[in-house]
C-alpha cells in the first residue's frame, strides 16, 4: 500500500484546531447508462481546467461505439479526456472513459487495467467493476457518482466505496432522465448527497479543492 504523501502537509503551519484536516480526494468515478450523454455533458462542463482529481467514467455503450463518444465528451470538457487503455496511468486532472466492450478496473493507485471478462449484470463495461476496484485501491480518497440510468448497475460498487470510507453522490432521481439507477443506488447505500445534476460539479470542486493555506 502506498502512503498518502501530502495529506499530512495540509495542516502545515496551523494547529489542528484552526484547520481540521479535510479528506483528500484523488479519484472520482462516475457511472451512468440511459440518458448519460447529456448528464455527462453537464457534469464535465462544470469542471474547471485546474480540477485536481482524476475522473473515470463508465457510460454503458454499444459494443462497437468506438471513438465517437470520447470525441463528443472531449468537446464538453476543459480537462483532457481519453478512452482508458490497458495499464494506462491515472493522472490527476485527466478524464478517462471505459472503452466499448471492456471492463475498466483500477489496478492499483496510479494505474488502470482492462478486462474482457463476462458482462456483469449484462453490462461491459460495468459500473460495479470500476467502482469496486476503485474503492479497493483508493479507499477513502474515492468519490463515487451515480447519474441517470436504467438497471441496478453501480449500486453495489457505490456501497463498496462507502464501506471503504469514500464518498457517495447520486443524481436526484427527480432530475434524472432515467430514475432507476439512481434509485437503486439510494436504496442500497447510505449516500452522502442526493443532488440535482447541475449541483454535482460545484460540489466536486468544493470537495476536491486543495485546502487553502
Amino acid at each position: 500500500m502506498r502512503s498518502w504523501k501530502g495529506v499530512k502537509s495540509f495542516t502545515d503551519g496551523f494547529s489542528s484546531k484552526q484547520a481540521p484536516r479535510q479528506p483528500h480526494f484523488e479519484l472520482v468515478v462516475v457511472g451512468t447508462s440511459l440518458g448519460g450523454l447529456s448528464a455527462l455533458e453537464t457534469l464535465l462542463n462544470g469542471l474547471p481546467s485546474n480540477f485536481p482529481a482524476a475522473v473515470a467514467i463508465v457510460q454503458h455503450r454499444h459494443k462497437e461505439s468506438n471513438t465517437g463518444l470520447s470525441e463528443f465528451l472531449q468537446s464538453c470538457s476543459l480537462l483532457p479526456l481519453q478512452d482508458a487503455a490497458d495499464k494506462a496511468a491515472i493522472v490527476p486532472g485527466h478524464v478517462y472513459l471505459a472503452p466499448a466492450d471492456y471492463h475498466l478496473l483500477v489496478e492499483s493507485v496510479g494505474w488502470f487495467a482492462l478486462s474482457t471478462d463476462m458482462p456483469v449484470s449484462y453490462a461491459r463495461p460495468s459500473i460495479d467493476v470500476l467502482f469496486e476496484s476503485a474503492a479497493d485501491a483508493y479507499g477513502h480518497h474515492t468519490i463515487g457518482i451515480i447519474l441517470t440510468g436504467s438497471g441496478g448497475d453501480g449500486a453495489q460498487g457505490l456501497a463498496r466505496i462507502k464501506a471503504c470510507g469514500g464518498l457517495a453522490i447520486v443524481q436526484d432521481p427527480q432530475t434524472a432522465e432515467s430514475q432507476m439507477m439512481p434509485k437503486a443506488a439510494i436504496a442500497t447505500t447510505a449516500v452522502d448527497w442526493i443532488l440535482p445534476l447541475a449541483d454535482i460539479a460545484p460540489r466536486l470542486i468544493h470537495l476536491c479543492q486543495p485546502v487553502i493555506r
Partner: protein, 272 residues
C-alpha cells in the same frame, strides 16, 4: 484492498504454482481478484483461504478454477475493423510468402481463430497457412477444437463478419444443428490446437504472424515484459504482431523494434 485479502491471494497463487506448476503470480491483481472471489462463491465457500485449501487438496476443484481464470469472453470477428485492416494491410504482404505460419496466442474458446481461418480462406491463402492456436487451458482448447458455437450468436456474428469485409454468406461456413452452429471441417484443416502457457513456456517456432489480442491485459508489467520478449523472439523479420484494440507496444522495451502498420488497430511489423 485490505492487506489480509492481498496476503490470502498471494498465498493461494503461490500454493497453486508450487503444487501444480500453474503460475498466476504475475497476473494483474484487479481482474484476478474478481475471478478468485467468483470461484470462492461458486464453491460455496466464505474465504480465499478456504478456496486455497480446497484447491490444494482437490484437483477437480483446480480444473474448475483454471477454467474460470482462462476463459476470456470474446466473439467471432471481435473488432471487425481489425479484420478489415488485416485484409487490407497484412494480406498483401502474406501473398508474397509460399508458406505462412501464424500463432494465435491465448486463443481461449477459438472464436477469433475461426474468424481468421475464414478471412484467409476468402483471400485464397488458407491452403498455404498453418495456424497454431494455443492456450494454457486444455478444456477451452477442447471447445476451440470442436468449432461448435451457439446458434443464437450467429445473427450477431453475421453482422460482424460483414463489417470485417466478409465476401460471401456467413451461413456457408457452418451447419445448424439444434442450438448449435458447427463450423465446416475444411476450416479446421490447417488449425493446430495445443497447450502453451505464456507465463511459463518458451518460444516453439518462428512465425510470420502472431495474434495475441486481449491476453496481455490480464498480466502485470513483469509478465507483460516476459511475454513481449517471447512474442518478439517468435516473430521472423518483418513478421506481423496484432494486439487488442486497447493494448499498445509503446512503453514496452520492444517499441523500437516494430513499425506501426495500422495504428488504430494495433497491427505492428517487426523491423529489427
Amino acid at each position: 484492498m485490505n492487506n489480509l485479502e492481498e496476503l490470502e491471494i498471494q498465498l493461494l497463487l503461490e500454493g497453486v504454482f508450487r503444487h501444480y506448476g500453474f503460475d498466476f503470480r504475475n497476473y494483474a491483481l484487479a481482474s484476478i481478484k474478481r475471478r478468485i472471489w467468483n470461484a470462492v462463491r461458486a464453491e460455496n465457500l466464505r474465504t480465499i483461504s478456504g478456496l486455497q485449501e480446497r484447491l490444494l487438496h482437490d484437483p477437480v476443484c483446480l480444473e474448475r478454477f483454471l477454467l474460470g481464470l482462462s476463459v476470456n469472453v470474446t466473439s467471432m470477428f471481435r473488432d471487425p475493423t481489425f479484420y478489415l485492416a488485416f485484409r487490407q494491410k497484412v494480406v498483401p504482404l502474406l501473398r508474397t510468402y509460399p508458406f505462412i505460419r501464424i500463432w494465435h496466442a491465448g486463443c481461449s474458446t477459438g472464436e477469433e481463430v475461426y474468424s481468421m481461418a475464414i478471412l484467409l480462406h476468402e483471400e485464397g491463402l488458407y491452403h498455404r497457412c498453418r495456424i497454431y492456436a494455443t492456450d494454457m487451458n486444455e478444456s477451452v482448447l477442447r471447445q476451440a477444437k470442436a468449432g461448435i458455437f451457439s446458434i443464437h450468436l450467429m445473427q450477431e456474428y453475421t453482422q460482424l463478419y460483414l463489417k470485417a469485409g466478409g465476401k460471401y454468406s456467413f451461413s456457408e461456413y457452418y451447419t445448424a444443428a439444434y442450438d448449435n452452429a458447427i463450423f465446416r471441417s475444411t476450416l479446421k484443416e490447417n488449425l493446430i490446437f495445443s497447450q502453451h502457457n505464456l507465463a511459463t513456456d518458451s518460444s516453439f517456432n518462428e512465425f510470420n504472424v502472431i495474434l495475441c489480442r486481449n491476453v496481455l491485459i490480464y498480466f502485470n508489467n513483469t509478465l507483460q515484459d516476459r511475454v513481449h520478449k517471447l512474442l518478439y523472439e517468435s516473430l521472423g523479420t518483418f513478421g506481423i504482431l496484432g494486439l487488442g484494440q486497447q493494448e499498445t507496444l509503446s512503453l514496452t522495451k520492444y517499441e523500437d523494434r516494430y513499425e506501426e502498420l495500422e495504428r488504430r488497430e494495433k497491427l505492428y511489423r517487426r523491423i529489427q
